[in-house]
């Protein structure tokens, strides 16, 4: 029996568009844009100014505060400006703009092999921090913070999240199939930080090839096992993944470490491997370019800072006019209004659709069918939460645990009346969080 959680949905997968396409290297042209905020937490501080020459792999921005991340240049060239640019989330963020000279001149020692077994835990954490690694699954939580819980001894599970439950996305799958030794290498580096922990690579059972390849390699590894998971969205959501693997439950106010777990996505683990064993900081990531509007859907190894328009061009451009373009997957991604945004650390996919399903049906009144209740992986009652939002009753929203919503979108997906539930909950959560902060301060 495969491991799973309660609730969830089975949306159209769309993975076959790109599942079999090997990851291609994409070399960018023109300006590269590095927003100072590509992670959760405080913005990084720019270390370069207009006119400076930078090499590939050079640190161009430094973490400010505890939760923040460094930023590294993925090309060599001249800093053109430090100015506000639009990022995929739609925000305007101060960004370092570098004119790519096309030489890719590296800093000294870039790519040098390193034996991590001789390093202390502090040295490993330092390398991860300097590499600017954040959670590449989408949340962007700085990895060096995640890998430094209060007490290393309480961690007994290090989980690699290879669920990739978002429809259409196959970048994690391709990496597991093509570079399984890097995934295992990265996991071994992390396991070195936690002596009591064992490693679990959790993969949804719709990726038998990945399970087979990694499973084959971990046979030699005493501390690592592969755990097939039932294919169901949102299997890869952190709380559900931890439950599926360990049977432990965490809520919105807890960290995975509170349940003795460290969870990292496949690309993140590879980035850890590259930073520690190959002296290569986070400069690129795997991006799935897909959707029925794209000519040649596929997976690309893209340098951070490359514009979305260039990535789509690399996939042959559009075959039909897209109606909606999403950064990320269809369930939790952000709809874009411009393609002149840079690939950031958390850009997992570019999904171009010829049809906007949201526009197909007009929202109708709730008929209380209860499908949202059944689908909610957090065991909430979205139907009642929506009533609270409509009545602007934030107190009741919080009382019925509305703040536990993980915004996975299952309720909205199943709603036969096509009501924008998730959107309302996002709003309500932010209103309540803001009010709580205000009260705390005032």
């Amino acid at each position: 029996m495969d491991w799973t959680f309660k609730g969830g949905i089975h949306p159209y997968g769309g993975k076959k568009l790109t599942k079999e396409s090997p990851v291609k290297e994409l070399l960018p042209e023109g300006d590269m844009v590095y927003p100072l905020s590509q992670h959760i937490g405080a913005w990084a501080k720019a270390l370069v100014k207009k006119g400076d020459y930078v090499k590939m792999g050079q640190q161009i921005a430094k973490a400010e505060g505890i939760v923040s991340a460094d930023i590294v240049s993925s090309v060599s060239g001249t800093v053109k400006a430090v100015e506000e640019r639009t990022v995929p989330s739609g925000d305007r963020v101060n960004s370092i703009v570098i004119e790519n000279d096309g030489q890719y001149t590296p800093i000294d020692g870039l790519g040098k092999e390193r034996d991590y077994t001789g390093l202390s835990k502090e040295e490993i954490r330092g390398l991860i921090k300097e590499a600017g690694i954040v959670g590449l699954g989408g949340a962007g939580f700085p990895a060096h913070v995640k890998l430094a819980p209060k007490n290393d001894e309480q961690i007994d599970y290090v989980i690699v999240n290879g669920a990739e439950c978002e429809p259409y996305l196959t970048s994690g799958y391709r990496m597991m199939v093509e570079e399984p030794q890097k995934v295992i290498g990265g996991l071994n580096v992390i396991l070195r930080l936690f002596d009591r922990a064992r490693g679990v690579i959790a993969i949804e059972d719709n990726k038998p090839e990945a399970i087979k390849r990694i499973g084959h390699l971990v046979q030699k590894e005493g501390r690592i096992e592969v755990r097939p998971l039932k294919t169901k969205y949102p299997q890869g959501a952190e709380r559900n993944l931890i439950y599926a693997v360990t049977g432990r439950k965490i809520n919105s106010s807890m960290l995975p470490a509170d349940a003795g777990c460290i969870v990292n996505n496949v690309d993140t683990v590879i980035a850890v491997y590259m930073a520690v064993c190959r002296s290569t900081p986070l400069m690129e990531r795997t991006v799935t370019v897909t959707g029925d509007a794209v000519k040649e859907p596929g997976n690309f190894r893209v340098k951070i800072g490359t514009s979305y328009a260039q990535v789509i061009n690399a996939a042959g451009g559009f075959k039909t006019e897209p109606e909606k373009i999403i950064s990320g997957g269809p369930m939790m991604g952000t709809a874009l209004y411009s393609l002149e945004v840079p690939v950031v650390k958390t850009s997992s996919a570019i999904l171009c659709m010829t049809k906007d399903e949201v526009l197909q049906e007009e929202p109708g009144p709730c008929i209380r069918c209860g499908r949202c209740v059944k689908a909610c992986p957090e065991n909430l009652v979205p139907q009642r939460m929506m009533e609270c939002v409509e009545q602007n009753n934030m107190e009741e929203f919080a009382r019925i645990q509305g703040m536990e919503c993980c915004e996975c979108g299952c309720c909205t997906y199943v709603c036969p009346a096509k009501r924008p539930l998730t959107q309302a909950f996002k709003l309500a959560k932010r209103v309540i969080a803001k009010e709580r902060r205000r009260r705390k301060e005032g």
Binding site: G90, M331, E404
Partner: protein, 520 residues
């Protein structure tokens, strides 16, 4: 590329299911019950259902058009309401009944409370109860091929045997869509398999109902009685199609189970001790009213919050709500179910007064009515008198001697019960003149549970008055116009009732001649 891409909040994909698809699936699931109803009751039944459904859709359209709202009749919800109501009507109701019911359901129960999703009561059931209360006669007349019949539940209450197999298949009198348990299960099963209705509601409902009947009915240990109770009346239709109405049932699994249990208890109590044999409609409507309360106490603990949640104030609040819910069930059950028991004594008093009034009605000369010693003796001997069955199964209850103001004999009043009525006992009183030639001075019905519009017409003046002035000798029923002095016109379409009444009168005449007159 377009200048403007569509931008919206995630998720960007939607399932294919829509409200309309769900509604049409429910309509489809009602099809077996409809087909069977039409097969059993004929084309007219189809007409009733079609008019009911059509009126519901038209009423919704008219209301939305008149109030300037978006027209949403294509979502199918009005259609389902109309279908459900139509299937819940007796097969030969006049056609204005479905029209009136559907208008009431859609406009008063649904639209006036805010339309789809806002009504607190199942519109079809609301309308059915409205019709049941307002037009009791028409709504409880269940003819098959124009011949009235008692429903199996009425027979069960009268202590008679019923065929469970006929009930399961649907060869019984009843509402158009309710008679065949098999057809309903076919549609209900489809909805359960397609996951359109939660299985918790019907299983909790039927399970609790069986337990209640098993525990509290004298015949509850009889498997056939249990099966007959399950297949009888609107229980199956109610459990699968009415109680599972999304709008008026809880959304959480826990709530759905609580709701089912509540309905099971209420239906059991109503059926066992209520004055009507059916209890499903009222149980569900009452259950609908408790849904907001059930929702409050059935909010599940969020993932990872199971331990923390039920603490302190919250816990108290839930306990309070649960207590309120229990007391509502208890009080409602007691009031509605026990009303029959509570009112027994006043009813008895009233009955005695009625006896005197009836005596005066059948024997106008009389002022006081007494059972003398001689009459009492005659009565005790009378039991053996009717053993040969000439008058069917009859019993002489009372024989009274009437005296006028001056204390002179003014005649006799004899009370007879025949057990041969269509739905149980018929009790009547016959008055006789004091001296020869003995004439019948009047006949009044005291107790009659026959089918409305058919057997019940025995209590109409037109029928009863025929006995007045007839000589006290054996009387005969005729289906032609009565011409001879000893002939009585039978009630058309109610032969059984007519002959039960006539036998009872003849028994009284026989008793009078054999005992009273012979003795004096």
């Amino acid at each position: 590329m377009k200048d403007l891409l569509n931008v919206s909040s995630s998720p960007h994909v939607r399932s294919k299911d829509t409200t309309a698809m769900i509604m049409y699936d429910v309509a489809l699931a009602l099809f077996p019950a409809l087909v069977f109803g039409v097969y059993r009751f004929g084309f007219y039944a189809l007409l009733v259902v079609v008019i009911s459904a059509g009126t519901a859709v038209a009423a919704e359209y008219a209301f939305q058009a008149a109030t300037g709202q978006r027209i949403t009749v294509s979502d199918g919800s009005a259609l389902v309401t109309g279908l459900l109501l139509g299937l819940n009507l007796p097969p030969e109701v006049p056609l204005w009944i479905p029209v009136m019911g559907s208008v009431f359901a859609v406009i008063f129960v649904k639209q006036l409370f805010g339309g789809l999703g806002q009504n607190f009561m199942n519109p079809a059931l609301g309308a059915r109860c409205f019709l049941l209360i307002s037009f009791a006669g028409l709504m409880s007349n269940y003819p098959v091929d124009s011949v009235s019949g008692a429903t199996p539940l009425a027979l069960l209450r009268a202590g008679k045997e019923v065929s469970v197999r006929a009930m399961f298949m649907g060869n019984i009198p009843g509402c158009i869509g309710e008679v065949s348990t098999f057809a309903i299960l076919l549609g209900g099963g489809y909805l359960v398999i397609k996951k359109i209705i939660p299985i918790w509601i019907p299983t909790a409902y039927l399970g609790t109902f069986v337990i209640v009947i098993f525990l509290f009915s004298e015949r509850g240990r009889d498997i056939f009685y249990l099966a007959a109770q399950l297949c009888g009346g609107g229980l199956m239709m109610g459990a699968f199609f009415m109680a599972t109405d999304y709008v008026t049932s809880p959304v959480t699994k826990k709530g759905q189970m609580m709701f089912g249990v509540l309905l099971g208890i209420l239906t059991g109590v109503f059926r066992l001790s209520g004055s009507s044999t059916e209890g499903v409609s009222y149980a569900i409507i009452l259950g609908n009213l408790t849904v907001p309360l059930i929702e409050r106490i059935s909010i599940p603990a969020a993932f990872g919050r199971e331990k923390k949640r039920i603490q302190g104030e919250n816990r108290l609040k839930i306990k309070k709500d649960a207590a309120v819910l229990c007391s509502i069930t208890l009080i409602a059950g007691l009031i509605l179910g026990g009303i029959y028991q509570i009112t027994k004594i006043p009813i008895e008093k009233q009955r005695k007064e009625t006896v005197v009034r009836t005596c005066q009605a059948v024997c106008p000369e009389g002022k006081t009515f007494e059972a003398g010693e001689q009459l009492s003796r005659a009565l005790s001997e009378a039991a053996s008198l009717f053993e040969n069955g000439e008058f069917g199964s009859v019993v002489i209850n009372q024989a009274l001697e009437a005296k006028d103001k001056m204390g002179n004999p003014a005649g006799y009043v004899i009370s007879v019960t025949s057990k041969d009525g269509f739905s149980g006992e018929i009790t009547l009183m016959v008055g006789f003149s004091p001296s020869e030639p003995v004439l019948i001075t009047g006949m009044e019905i005291v107790q009659l549970n026959e089918t409305a519009g058919m057997g019940m017409r025995a209590d109409e003046e037109e029928f009863k008055v025929q006995y007045k002035g007839k000589p006290a000798s054996k009387l005969f029923l005729t289906k032609q116009l009565a011409s001879a002095e000893n002939e009585i016109d039978a009630i058309s379409g109610a032969t059984i009732t007519s002959s039960a009444v006539n036998n009872a009168v003849n028994a009284a005449i026989y008793f009078l001649h054999t005992y009273i007159k012979a003795g004096t």
